[in-house]
């Protein structure tokens, strides 16, 4: 019979599993994929849930592409890639989350809808299979975690954690606790954050946290400047980049986030606060309708060819785009 390591423990303390974290993830779209790679890179095993085998295969393919991209920029090695991929499992069955002690909801809804019924349903499904001390996290950035916590039998385990893209490189996460969240759950999340190498920004019950609430009005205002003909896309970006030392200007940022996702954030915040600052700029609405979603569609405020950003020329009303808006 094969000998067990546990039989050689000096004391019971050696057998404790307190430091073992296994993470579950529901929804492995673009954000979920980034989260999965980050968690696994930190040496933690992760199981993700998707709706079909086809989507699971696609998620694996995209994660491999994401790592390849990092390798091509010298940030990882092929050995790292093998190790990361070996720790990620995909499933269509929620039961496979049963042994996870942290589960992250990162589903990609098509548009913002009041009351978040889909996310609530996911929260309920997670709670049905996990143990009583499992923490349930939502990555949604513009909703209050309390709204999701209410559907749980143990709402004290619900925490909002906002991962900012690019997830691997961004050194912070926003951790949003609600009134019902207990200290045990929040401590577990803090420990998890340390394990994945992120600094914690503590946020209290605010939809949009800090990051989304500040970036949304800036992008809207940048669109305002553009529509008024005050300046061009490139010059507005350059002003903020060089003038204020930002890594990216508002339009580069918008393209990177994705204008469809940005619209969801804006609708969520406008619905919550009713403040005009958050109301989606008509320019962004027009671009989304025309399929100009930013980097991911190859065209937004800039063109993207083979991953390279190319400046547009022309007036506001054609934006130099390949497809005509009007």
């Amino acid at each position: 019979m094969k000998e067990k390591l546990e039989d050689y423990a000096l004391s019971k303390s050696a057998q404790k599993q307190s430091d073992g974290i296994k993470v579950g993830l529901v929804g492995c779209g673009s954000m979920g994929q980034e989260i999965a790679v980050l968690v696994s890179k930190s040496g933690i095993e992760l199981t993700f849930i998707e709706v079909s085998e086809k989507r699971i295969a696609n998620a694996f393919m995209k994660m491999e592409e994401q790592i390849e991209e990092v390798i091509s920029h010298w940030g990882m090695t092929s050995g790292d890639k093998r190790a990361i991929m070996s720790r990620i499992n995909g499933s269509t069955n929620y039961e496979d989350l049963a042994d996870c002690n942290i589960v992250i909801e990162a589903i990609n809804t098509k548009k913002w809808v009041p009351n978040q019924p889909v996310r609530k349903e996911v929260f309920k499904k997670i709670e049905k299979v996990v143990s009583s001390d499992c923490v349930i996290i939502s990555n949604a950035s513009t909703i209050v975690i309390s709204d999701l916590a209410v559907v749980l039998k143990r709402p004290c385990r619900a925490v909002g954690v906002h991962f900012l893209s690019p997830v691997l490189a961004t050194k912070i996460i926003e951790v949003n606790r609600c009134i019902s969240t207990n200290d045990e759950a929040i401590e577990k999340v803090y420990r998890f954050a340390r394990m994945i190498g992120k600094d914690i920004i503590k946020v209290y019950g605010s939809p949009g946290n800090i990051s989304t609430r500040l970036i949304v009005p800036m992008i809207n205002e940048a669109c305002g400047l553009l529509m008024e003909g005050v300046s061009t896309v490139e010059e507005i970006d350059k002003t903020m980049k060089i003038g204020y030392g930002m890594l990216r200007g508002p339009f580069s940022m918008a393209d990177r986030i994705g204008l469809d996702k940005l619209t969801k954030w804006m609708e969520g915040l406008y619905n919550e606060y009713g403040d005009i600052r958050y109301k989606t700029s008509p320019l962004i609405r027009r671009m989304v309708r025309a399929g100009m979603l930013g980097r991911k569609s190859g065209e937004g405020f800039y063109y993207y060819e083979n991953g390279k950003k190319i400046q547009k020329t022309g007036s506001l009303f054609n934006l130099g785009h390949k497809q005509k808006l009007f």
Binding site: E3, K4, Y8, S11, S18, E45, W74, G75
Partner: protein, 400 residues
């Protein structure tokens, strides 16, 4: 006296249990993949009993608990109880300027080691985890820290300073420290023993050629120069590290490739060296095979590797005003027959007469490789860093 030697890495712990009276290794082993999937412990006892135990090992303390558990177990153990262990010796990578010798570990020493984390963020934290774990499990046992950098603390400022604004040295301690000190110290003392000479009469160049590689100039028993610097990246070309590189080239690469500090570190430490040039492997055996099969880049990598070592031997000979003995150690130094031959070829001007017949097929044994008439001797001396750590621990604890 029984001494447990611990070399605690980021996700592994290597250990050896010595009986200092009989100079025997009672047990040795490895805990690997700590905190990861597939973690295990491998133990080998003096009588040949071997065991591999698989299971969850969550952290370093957990790993060391299992090591101690196995060492005192009925089935695979070498000790009756933990009380039979008299002291624990730890390998610590970076000792900065604070440690020029091995020391008894006290709270004050731990604080000093914690301050040094900034200089070795990848290596010192896991070393400290090993110390914390032993302190937690055996609070009263004497522990000794043996530093990789300590042996090179005898370097003069003209060797260890970089030509950068002096304030950067005083503010951050940016200077050359050197590594593999425990290995260079062991092989240089051992070669003097083997040659029946006083180390104080010898000028030694020690080539530690492993996946990481460094070379040291040891004059009269003291390190006067070494190829690694503030970090282990400087100096010789290595398995995956660049070794010496024009820093202007580095800033150029960063600008062209649009990469930040983390990716640059990975580029220098993991994508470069023999692997980066050959595109084959970081394993020298595979690169040698590829070169023999006609792979031009593998051949280039080998040529560069050997040339860089040769160049350092030349410069250290100049630095010491001559050389009496060149030592090869480390995985490549001890085993790569042709690489040794190529490195010391054309050193006849120094009075070195290499004996190819003595070199042929020799792997990992203590042996002289030069002709009797050779003025400069070449030796293979397999390194034994654990033994040095055990001896230092023994001496310090005995003197308590």
């Amino acid at each position: 006296m029984k001494i447990l030697v611990i070399n605690s890495g980021s996700s592994s712990i290597k250990y050896q249990l010595f009986n200092m009276e009989t100079s025997e290794v009672l047990a040795k082993g490895l805990v690997d993949k700590i905190g990861l999937n597939g973690s295990y412990l491998k133990n080998e006892r003096l009588d040949g009993d071997k065991v591999k135990l698989e299971g969850n090992i969550y952290d370093h303390q957990n790993g060391i608990e299992y090591v101690l558990g196995v060492l005192i177990s009925d089935k695979h153990g070498s000790l009756k109880s933990l009380d039979d262990i008299d002291a624990v010796g730890h390998r610590v990578v970076h000792g900065g300027e604070a440690f020029n010798d091995s020391v008894m570990i006290t709270d004050e020493m731990i604080s000093k080691m914690e301050e040094l984390i900034e200089l070795a963020p990848l290596h010192n934290p896991p070393n400290l985890k090993g110390i914390y774990a032993v302190t937690g499990l055996m609070p009263n046992i004497p522990q000794v820290g043996v530093f990789d950098t300590a042996f090179h603390q005898t370097m003069d400022p003209h060797s260890f300073m970089y030509a950068i604004p002096y304030s950067l040295y005083t503010k951050y301690g940016i200077r050359r420290y050197g590594f593999h000190g425990t290995s260079h110290r062991y092989v240089s003392n051992r070669v003097a023993e083997l040659m029946n000479k006083d180390i104080k009469d010898l000028k030694i160049i020690s080539c530690h050629l492993g996946n990481g590689a460094s070379i040291a100039a040891i004059k009269h028993g003291k390190s006067v120069d070494t190829s690694m610097g503030l970090t282990p990246v400087e100096g010789l070309m290595m398995g995956t590290r660049t070794g010496d590189l024009d820093v202007g080239a580095l800033t150029f690469i960063m600008s062209k490739e649009v990469i930040g500090i983390d990716a640059t570190n990975t580029l220098l430490n993991k994508h470069s060296g023999v692997l980066g040039v050959s595109g084959v492997s970081s394993d020298m055996r595979e690169v040698e095979d590829a070169a023999k099969a006609g792979n031009e880049r593998a051949l280039l990598a080998l040529d560069m590797y050997q040339y860089r070592v040769k160049k350092y031997i030349g410069s250290y000979t100049a630095a010491m005003g001559g050389v009496d003995v060149i030592i090869f150690t480390g995985g490549i130094g001890e085993n790569a027959v042709e690489i040794r031959e190529n490195i010391v070829s054309n050193f006849e001007y120094l009075g070195l007469e290499f004996d190819n017949s003595k070199n042929k097929g020799v792997r990992a044994v203590e042996k002289e490789l030069t002709k009797d008439s050779s003025k400069v001797k070449v030796w293979i001396v397999p390194t034994d860093e654990e033994l040095v750590i055990a001896r230092d621990t023994y001496e310090i604890v005995k003197a308590m």
